[in-house]
Symmetry: D2
Subunit: 379 residues, 4 copies
């Protein structure tokens, strides 16, 4: 382990949940050092937030563009930046860093509009810098294992995908004061629950199965009176090759905290996983008893062990899964720094995943507006 | 408790799983005595099967019509008959008993064709005898409680229904030898998994929520090569009044034995239940911790206690839930015998439930044939 | 299946929980017909209780001795009797039937005193009739499987046994009105929780492991002020051959309904089981992933299938496990009737199990009185 | 958040599990910066290990005493040291730092011998520096909540404590090569499983209940042939005030990874918790349904929220619990630095907990040698 990668952050000021998560994730494996930030678009709040997390005032910026310009010139300027703003800022911020060769680690969903997404896709293509999207659930060791098991044929030909992400924190109107940007189309984008958590479910299912969605049919609801974005979505999926899926995301399902669950069935076996106890993966080889595969336990495969920090039975959680994305990013950035190819086993969500997520949300909204008609995913 | 009700049985010969279940269910509460049977359409098998379960040879019939005629004339002839044949025989058999005033307890789904269903509906309407359909999962105490909680407003306005019934026993082609009639359209009807288990899921969701499905959109698959009926179905539901649902049924999902699960969410709370451990009902009043309600436990309501036999923590299972349908039937039959109204708390699935199930299967098939279009449920 | 065995019952009048359980258990498999009863020691209650369950008044007795005498003389008198009284009546009642050649199915624990137990042991030895003790948890299919797995060496040499039975219904003083005889030494015997549920735990551990306890050390408490019998017991066990165990039973542990659990560990594997979801048995072959073995599922062994009624995923419960003891008794009684040996696979708890349970309770009390000293189990 | 506290480490060289854990724990909240280390007692390994984790070679020491002497003199020398060596080195290492006013964060158990423990106790008493013992499970938010609930009387008067810590990694003889010092009396101390994990169970039970053990009775086994230290221990506890407990620890129980579980019962309620899914705490107020309290969820108390980083349903795990001990240590160290009292809500295990753990192990061994006699805990 050499010196930590110098990291900046855009967004993530006081009280922003996801900014604190990114900072912990960046710290856990000691591969990054946060040295600069434009933590808020409000100058005062930016300074206060920077001070609160111990940033050097000299490198606490009021504006991400100013930060990108100056840091790119500093001898020991940041090498990577974490973008953790509301969605509508992702593109504008990412662009400034990408064009200056600074690697971008960006929260999901990719952007608030498809137009922005396409511009961002171009910006990534034109930059030598890396772009990492924090679909963090792909960092869980047992999701790595599930993906490998599918690839190895342990489930046979895939037939059915059941994926869901249910929460309850937006059940009532007053609840969304705490994160009102998430229910504001201007800042969040077309999708409400579809964008905020549906993209995670969609991404995870694709990550594990390797399948591509051909078309979908979506029934979106905004159950809370006055809400402009969907807070519940029912989606049926048709994958290329014939597999079928169901996706449910909801932010109005009382009793669900972060109920992300994935089940995949093929003609030779099935797997089941729940994010709330992520160290366990159920595997049933058809015709034999169900097995409980555990992170670090007997039956854990190399791809899972590679991203495992502590022994079986000592739970790793959400922050460690998130940290794994940062660790993968660090491996990729160091390879890039040294002029090497990114090693084959380094695995993280990319701009392509971000684009797929955008197309998913767009298709959901399009289908729902057409009264739940089947629609092709755009490309 | 007076003398047991004299019961006959049509179908349920040697090796028929569901016949044995009905016999145990009829015995558990001591309210019925099985005294006659036409257990098979093959004379030899009918006799052998009757002997195996200790029926009097004099009341072991080769033919359900002969049985109906003779039993109706006997002074101590059967008062009720259980029909547990393959689906395509339900109507013809039920008709013979109904028109002779013998109560019918019939396995589900109602019939194999809509035409038969309509004729059966008429036969029931024209008979003074009772018709009970064994959607047995409605006999579980915690499903009774869930229904009451919904009715009492504990969940508020309902928004989302998630129901599923997943099995794996038809995962591979060779598996269905053991029950080949279930995959044969001529005997099973239009629906495969939709008819066999989807109707249970559909019925249970309706039972608990009291909601009526307005329209649905279904994507049915027959994954196993050569199979003529669906073995997996994805269905989205729109209820009258605005609630939405998803229903998944599958017989090709490895690792699922009888994975019937129901989750219902409203603006004030949510409930979750799994058939494989039916003595537990999870209830989350929005804004408070999740509660574990148990059969017989603290928090169990009268409607649950009414159908509970033993204390909390001593599990009742599938057979007791099934037996509850028989016990309800017995209460109704005795009230009928005594010229009383059926007591208000006596609860069992009726011809109306059967018709609803038929319309569900028909709509699923119709939607799927139209490439997953939204269709209204027929009436 | 021939004609049902004619059964009588002593005890089990109105409101007696365990009498109703025995009656259902006797009915489930249709092997018994209840035709006579002395359901209460109070004449009026005996008659009312008999009428309530549909007994012929002519065979409803006020007194078990009168019943034994008369039934023994009847041409179609009872062949077996279920004794479901409070413990202090077990011996006196059993004796009357045993000496007249009527088989006895007796609730546990065996008796209220060791003196009675020894007399009963003698009575059983001197009678040609069978004596079956309803340690019903040994009827669960997965306990049969666990026993077989241990016998087959799947766990290797046994080292550790962890068994517990926790309830909460006697947590507070007022609670025990509902079953006050259970906390009365004169009727219940030396042991409170040890006798009522500790004997079940002790028996089940012995059933599954095949191990014999050499000595134990017990710390008994009566936490509720004024209670005369233990309501909580901590016991350490030393088995012959070197294995060690812990046994906890409690009736004052809030949140436990019927929390009977058994875990057994050897040098090659471990098993875990909980009564409240009895259809599942966890098995970990050392060095491999944990497996979930289910009743009726893949991995179920013949000994479990033999006592299984319905497919995997449709839960069997407490009543079915209890019914299995009755079914085993029926097999044994029929073999006896036909002059055959009881088939080798017929398995039920005997007088020896009853005596072992008595010695367990006695040793617990003896150890506890000696301030928790280690004591040998008597013989 | 001001500048990080400068931290050194003794032990924790390449391949040492617990050293890596301490380093991550120290990083998670950004309160410490690791700047010096004597990571191994072998010079070459010390240097290689230091380099591997990016330590400055100038501050990579071959010897903890040299490190203590030099760091104490450096202007920016370490302010605290983490001691993560095998147990027999704890005292000697801690002493060197304590006497130079450097705060000590020490892994458990306290020392390998009682003599060392007493000397360490004296050294702590004589030093102005803080001593923190990493009984990390007390850092779990739901254990903080449990402790507060007990203190608030939510369980009433405590009666029964059931605590266990079961593992399986030492099931077979060859397994312990990987951590052979743990089974070596010279380095580990008197206790095997009792010292390594029994102390955790003992400490956690005391932390939550606030109860003090008066006496115990222990049956220790070394099941694996040739093993010198216990690998399984059965212990019964008598608390001051009348509560009773059972403690089981084992490293030979196949199927258990890190099965630490705690159950506490009083006359008004009970709680249940399992380390492998630590975000959940079951609470049953006697007479009401069981509740599922979750970290960050509805029902979480201030003491739990205080040590919670992310929302409910996003699991925190072992590393976060461990990090909480480090965070508490940081709070205490900063208060000390500023000349303030340690804030009242800062909570971490101290030398007193370490001494209690030593007395527990010593009493277990003493009791077991006296054939399982009851013994008083020393003082």
């Amino acid at each position: 382990m050499g010196r930590p990668i110098r990291l900046g952050m855009v967004g993530g000021g006081n009280d922003a949940f996801i900014g604190a998560v990114h900072r912990i994730a960046a710290r856990i494996d000691g591969r990054f050092q946060l040295v600069a930030g434009a933590l808020s678009s409000t100058a005062e709040k930016a300074q206060a937030s920077g001070a609160a997390i111990g940033l050097n005032p000299d490198r606490t910026y009021d504006d991400f563009k100013a930060m990108a310009i100056r840091e790119a010139r500093l001898k020991d300027g940041i090498e990577a930046v974490a973008i953790v703003t509301p969605n509508h800022v992702h593109y504008a911020a990412a662009r400034e860093f990408l064009k200056r060769g600074i690697h971008v680690i960006c929260d999901k969903p990719l952007t608030s509009t498809m137009a922005d997404a396409k511009k961002l896709e171009k910006a990534v293509a034109q930059s030598d810098a890396l772009f990492v999207l924090t679909h963090n659930y792909t960092g869980y060791p047992m999701m790595r294992q599930a993906r490998q098991m599918v690839a190895d044929g342990a489930l046979g030909n895939l037939r059915v995908v059941q994926v869901e992400y249910a929460q309850d924190w937006l059940t009532q109107a007053e609840d969304f004061k705490q994160a009102e940007w998430r229910t504001d189309p201007a800042r969040s984008g077309l999708g409400g629950s579809t964008g905020d958590i549906g993209t995670h479910a969609f991404n995870l299912a694709g990550f594990v199965t390797g399948l591509t969605v051909d078309s979908l049919c979506a029934d979106l609801q905004a159950f809370v009176p006055g809400r402009q974005l969907d807070d519940n979505a029912h989606v049926m999926l048709r994958y290329e090759g014939g597999a079928r899926g169901m996706l449910w995301c909801s932010q109005v399902a009382p009793g669900n905290e972060n109920g992300l669950g994935l089940r995949v069935y093929g003609d030779k076996g099935g797997i089941e996983w729940r994010q709330e106890n992520p160290n366990r993966l159920w595997f049933t080889p058809y015709g034999a008893p169900k097995q409980l595969l555990t992170r670090g336990g007997k039956g854990a495969m190399d791809v899972a062990e590679r991203v495992t920090r502590i022994p079986a039975g000592h739970p790793e959680g959400y922050l460690e899964g998130f940290a794994t994305i940062y660790r993968e990013a660090a491996d990729a950035i160091e390879a890039h720094r040294d002029g090497h190819d990114v090693p084959a086993d380094v695995t993280y969500p990319t701009i392509a995943d971000g684009m797929a997520g955008m197309r998913f949300v767009e298709a959901c909204v399009r289908s729902s507006k057409r009264d739940g008609a089947w629609v092709k995913l755009g490309s």
